[in-house]
């Protein structure tokens, strides 16, 4: 095999064409509009927010909105923060990371901004307790709340004569009934490790001592002491999944549930649109997850699913204001909550979606607690720890790892500890 002296002509031609394309690409930039970046974390609502941005652009011909829907949004956002490249407008999940960013003074203070008019106070309190840039600051606008209990297949419950369980043992009994009938009780989606946090939140909220996290931040208690029953019950639930729960993820689970392959799904209301994706008129029931034997002690976990926030040092505050106000208009929120089966945060709006019927009484009567997993410092790999635990079933190791990771991470930093006030 003799090497040829020169590259084939074809290759050179291809390269030349590519170079020309490159030149052409750099020629078409800038059209006199102000560009604002809109960082959008919610995969399920991609299309919706894209359409909204396009609609806003149509009404505001002087603004261009670049929508960014990254994979792994929290990492992507932090990467941007490290680069000091904060998006002008963001949707975020109201969780520990949001609190951490707020405390780091990433978000604009919206106190007194007209965009907050009519927003339900209790949701403002929720995001304030996550963390804020300074006393009295409001660093985000709650856009949609969620309800996180569990979802069930109404038809399958009727078919097998199972009533909605009101205590933990009734829930296990229901799971057993389905398993004996050859239906997967709970679909395991551990390939996406965050799905394990969904049942963890209601279980721990009902089973841990009231001031558990305050004590934990003060080193007054341990997970081994306060979370033993939570871990035990979580493991019990996962005894009733399909075999090999680790090879399937969120999308597999929601699709299988829609096909009627599983009776229940340990997820909150946010998963409903994903389930209906292929089957628009599929009936989904929801309930609060009972963790104890006393139905009166059952609470619903609810948090701010989507917070809108603006960059503290954005270059285009006027355009950002316009966009925020556009997003917070009643019809927009109504439409969003209908599409995403979310709980609206504006006073006087409600969502009568049948998939929320089972939990609406909790929302209305205020039997609501926040997500306990939002108390975790994001550097603790909670999802992966849960994943390992639910595969191995080793409770002691799980609680020990939680305590060790918690203490290690806390020892490594001087900021953002205990910023979340339960």
């Amino acid at each position: 095999m003799l090497p040829r002296r020169n590259p084939p002509r074809r290759v050179i031609t291809l390269l030349a064409v590519a170079l020309l394309l490159a030149a052409g690409l750099s020629a078409c930039a800038g059209d006199g509009r102000t560009t604002i970046t809109f960082f959008q974390f919610k995969g399920e609502a991609q299309e919706y927010f894209r359409t909204l941005a396009a609609r806003f652009e149509a009404q505001n011909p002087d603004v261009r909105v670049v929508v960014d829907n990254p994979a792994d949004p929290e990492t992507a956002l932090r990467t941007r923060l490290v680069k000091n490249d904060v998006p002008d407008v963001m949707t975020l999940n109201g969780n520990g990371t949001f609190g951490e960013f707020a405390s780091a003074r990433i978000f604009r203070d919206l106190t007194g901004d007209p965009v907050l008019e009519g927003v339900n106070r209790s949701y403002l309190d929720v995001i304030a307790t996550l963390g804020r840039g300074g006393p009295g600051e409001v660093n985000g606008v709650p856009f949609a709340a969620n309800a996180s209990g569990l979802l069930y297949n109404v038809d399958l419950f009727e078919e097998h004569g199972v009533a909605v369980p009101r205590t933990f043992s009734e829930l296990i009994a229901a799971a057993r009934t389905f398993r004996d009938a050859g239906v997967t009780p709970f679909y395991g989606m551990l390939a996406d490790s965050w799905t394990a946090q969904s049942p963890l939140a209601p279980l721990s909220a009902q089973l841990q001592p009231d001031d558990f996290f305050e004590q934990r931040f003060r080193d007054g208690t341990t997970f081994a002491r306060g979370w033993a029953s939570t871990a035990a019950q979580l493991a019990r639930l996962f005894e009733y999944t399909q075999p090999d729960p680790l090879s399937k993820g969120y999308e597999d689970g929601t699709a299988a549930f829609a096909r009627g392959e599983s009776a229940m799904l340990l997820l909150g209301s946010y998963a409903v649109p994903q389930i209906r994706f292929g089957k628009p008129d599929f009936t989904i029931g929801s309930m609060a997850l009972p963790a104890t034997e006393d139905p009166a002690r059952t609470t619903l976990v609810s948090g701010v699913d989507v917070v809108l926030a603006a960059s503290r040092q954005g270059d285009h505050p006027a355009e950002v204001d316009r966009f925020l106000r556009f997003l917070m208009r009643r019809p927009v929120m109504e439409e969003y909550c209908r599409a995403q089966v979310a709980v609206p945060t504006l006073e006087g709006l409600s969502n009568d979606d049948p998939a929320l019927a089972g939990v609406s009484e909790y929302i209305e009567s205020g039997r609501i607690v926040g997500f306990t997993d939002h108390q975790f410092i994001p550097a603790i790999p909670l999802g992966p720890l849960l994943q390992s635990f639910l595969i191995s079933g080793d409770e002691r190791a799980f609680l020990r790892d939680l305590d060790e990771d918690w203490d290690k991470v806390a020892a490594r930093r001087t900021w953002g500890l205990g910023a979340v006030i339960a």
Binding site: P3, L21, T79
Partner: protein, 273 residues
């Protein structure tokens, strides 16, 4: 004694072994043409008919043309700039190796071979952003700069094998170093340029980590980056995902098929020096 007998047993063995390379590719192709309900089983069955809609969906959902263009621009830019600059730097170093300063420089550049990118990943993300280089242009600069370590190493070795008489003759004719390099040396470097060009092209086209941490604007995402985002959002739509993988791999694959011999001999030259 000197008759060349073809060893057919060995040939057969190599053909069978080459299936390990071909099977995953075959698998990707058949999956890309299936409808979702034809999935399942081992997945090696042929599809019933060619379901071209997958490609149309992937084209639209991943914004394929834009991403392919970004990849092309970054790759071509990186290759062209690398060839023009790295060879020049290597020439200057190679011809001044007798001076301590340049020997030191050579060691300085080549020692960077021991600094894997993950080690500087965090600060580089910060720094490129400060310099407003967290975009396609910045990525091109980074490929050119990070290529220096290896390229200076191979170019210098190659330039050392070029006799100095030519340059001396050019100098007598009154040519400046600059002209000498472009008129005399650079053409002689063609084989090595091919090697460096190929390796840079493969690296820039297929790289994932650098674009992942450097690029901010979704509009400038490269093909691997787009696949990553797509995968996270449509992970269960396998046929469309596979169609999009195929499209992402196709451009370089086509170029390779047409220039296979030349690519391989180019890579070999880099090793033999």
């Amino acid at each position: 004694m000197r008759t060349v007998r073809v060893n057919w047993w060995l040939t057969a063995l190599l053909v069978v072994l080459s299936l390990t390379v071909l099977i995953p590719l075959y698998f990707a192709v058949v999956t890309a043409f299936k409808t979702p309900d034809q999935l399942g089983g081992t997945g090696f069955a042929l599809p019933d008919g060619l379901h071209w809609a997958n490609f149309a969906d992937a084209w639209r959902l991943t914004g394929f043309p834009k991403a392919a263009l970004n990849s092309a621009v970054i790759t071509v830019g990186a290759v062209v700039l690398t060839l023009l600059t790295n060879s020049m730097v290597a020439y200057a170093i190679a011809r001044n190796m007798d001076r301590r300063f340049f020997r030191g420089l050579y060691l300085y550049f080549v020692s960077a071979l021991f600094v894997p990118f993950p080690i500087i990943m965090l600060p580089v993300a910060k720094q490129t952003a400060i310099l407003h280089l967290d975009n396609r242009a910045g990525l091109i600069v980074l490929y050119v700069v990070y290529g220096l370590a290896f390229n200076i190493f191979v170019f210098t070795a190659y330039i050392n094998s070029i006799p100095r008489e030519l340059e001396e003759a050019a100098a007598i004719d009154g040519a400046s170093t600059w002209i000498t390099f472009w008129r005399v040396i650079f053409p002689l470097l063609t084989p090595m340029n091919a090697t460096v060009g190929i390796l840079t092209c493969l690296w820039a086209w297929n790289d994932f980590l650098l674009p992942l941490v450097i690029l901010s604007d979704p509009g400038s995402a490269t093909l691997p980056l787009v696949q990553y985002v797509f995968q996270s959002q449509f992970q269960t739509n396998y046929p469309v995902a596979f169609a999009s993988y195929l499209m992402a791999m196709a451009p370089l694959f086509v170029v390779y098929v047409f220039s296979q011999r030349w690519v391989i001999s180019g890579v070999v030259r880099g090793a033999v020096k």
